[in-house]
Amino acid sequence: MGMTLAQAILSKKVGRPVSEGEIVLVDLDFMMGQDGTSPLAIKVFKEMGGKKVFDPSKIALVIDHSSPSPNHGVSQLHDMMRKFARETGVILYDIGDGVCHQLLPEMGHVVPGDVVIGADSHTCTYGALGAFATGVGSTDLAAAMISGKTWFKVPETIKIILNGNLPKGVFSKDIFLEIARRLTADGATYKALEYHGSTISELSMDARFTIANMAIEVGAKVGLFLPDDVSISYARSHSKRNFVPVFPDKDAVYENEVEIDVNKLTPLVAAPHTVDNVKPLEELEGTPIQQAFIGTCTNGRLEDLEIAARILAGKKINPDTRLIIAPASKKVLKEAVKSGIFEVLLDAGAVFVTPGCGACVGTHNGVPADGENVISTANRNFKGRMGNPNAFIYLASPATVAASALEGKIADPRKYIS
């Protein structure tokens, strides 16, 4: 019986074939914590008696969730992270460097075939590179920083087949919203997703990161793409590490298959307050929008800013709507400046904030007022997510968010794409 990609990666690490449902102890290639979770991991590390980390070059701490610090309490936690990094030699990405899930691939810390954990649920993003990467809590990260290992239950896999070409105005975000609509918020709990089909070769690395990033929104442990020319050349150009890509067997057995005819997709929106509350854009068109937000580990990459800039070039956003943009990293910001995208967006009325997670996670940088509607490129629209339980968050592609900022209400991006 053949192996799925999740099984194949874990088998290679463990050094023997592993079965689904089995619990395995695995050596980790890289691990990460952000400023919401690392301070607790550091405290637990010390309580466990930790003095040295197993390998400082395989651990990164990223200050991105509240960056720069919005208040005294968070400043103390950042201080704790900086001191720990100095003491142990682990890699520290400080304020403004960017969102952890953009930085790890961009800085070459993750390559195909890796096993990675992060104390952040969207660690599954690196599945786009064919890496088994998943979110854990602070205690698991602390134990792993000491031992270099963690345990996993080998997941069953749902095969997602994407066939056809993306129609005009439809993007990778819409593909995942369709998956969320079909699988629902817990449809893949404990399981792996594995992507196949003809659409994938036309998806850029940025587009794949968007899809892999949201695996957790259907409860999945990982969302895996098979390595191909696109991901292998991305990894080779960003990382100095040597790697051998891992593939599933042709006769792998899947728990379930979901096939999506991408040709037939239209722009989709997730309405408040759950990610699987997905509706065709037409049903929500005209909903007034007070704040639009482009950024996050889902859609804050260069391609996302480019898509928005194409729609907003030479135009002004609606005067009753704010457009906040948080590039996913300093590198993305620099490239946006160099290519002229930054100026196009500024001229259209956008406000740029420090590369980081603040607005999405509700710590600062764009907390909405009571009763306001926000359209966002983020991955979560939970009640209170952006810092106010009395606001309403709609999730969509960067194109739909840009078109909505322009009109001041939920709008169809296809009107603005030639």
């Binding site: 919401g36 979770t37 301070p39 607790l40 405290k43 637990v44 309580e47 466990m48 969730h65 208040n71 309490g73 968070v74 103390q76 936690l77 104390a119 952040d120 649920s121 660690t123 979110g135 854990v136 809590g137 602070s138 205690t139 698991d140 134990a143 918020a185 817990d186 709990t189 404990y190 957790i216 409860g219 442990k221 759950t274 996670v361 509700g362 710590t363 979560r380 939970f382 009640k383 209170g384 997510r385 810092g387 339980p389």
Partner: protein, 167 residues
Amino acid sequence: MNKVIRGKVHKFGRDIDTDVIIPARYLTTFDPLELGRHCFADLDESFATRVSEGDIIVAGENFGCGSSREHAPIAIKGAGISAVVAESFARIFLRNSINIGLTVVEAPGITNFVEDGDEIEIDLENGKIRNLTRDREMNFQPLPSFLKQIIDAGGLIEFAKERLKTR
């Protein structure tokens, strides 16, 4: 540890996410009591004041979905909750709860078995839940014993320390 937990039920729906359990703006401390004061602040401001020590949360499917923040089970424990019984749990929340020693019980059928305010008794060893208010009983599959041992010890830190002592 308490092989039998008894308490009053606070009942929630499905897909209760960790942002709602403890909003990110309160993640400025690790103090369980302080986190407990803000537990469910965005859903029900009075929750923390209504909970009596030992009360039990009962919820629908996918409890604890979303963010990996371990502060979520810590806040629940800090609020005085003795156990969470749900139709099902999100993966990271379940693992975090075990690691910090919060009792979690996966019991399909629980939401039809109890109402808000009922008094229930959970027999962790034998996998039985008794609804004392309505005088009925249901079964569940207890956690594997090594995971129960971690919860019993009070979490992974205490478990590891105990193991080191007995070596």
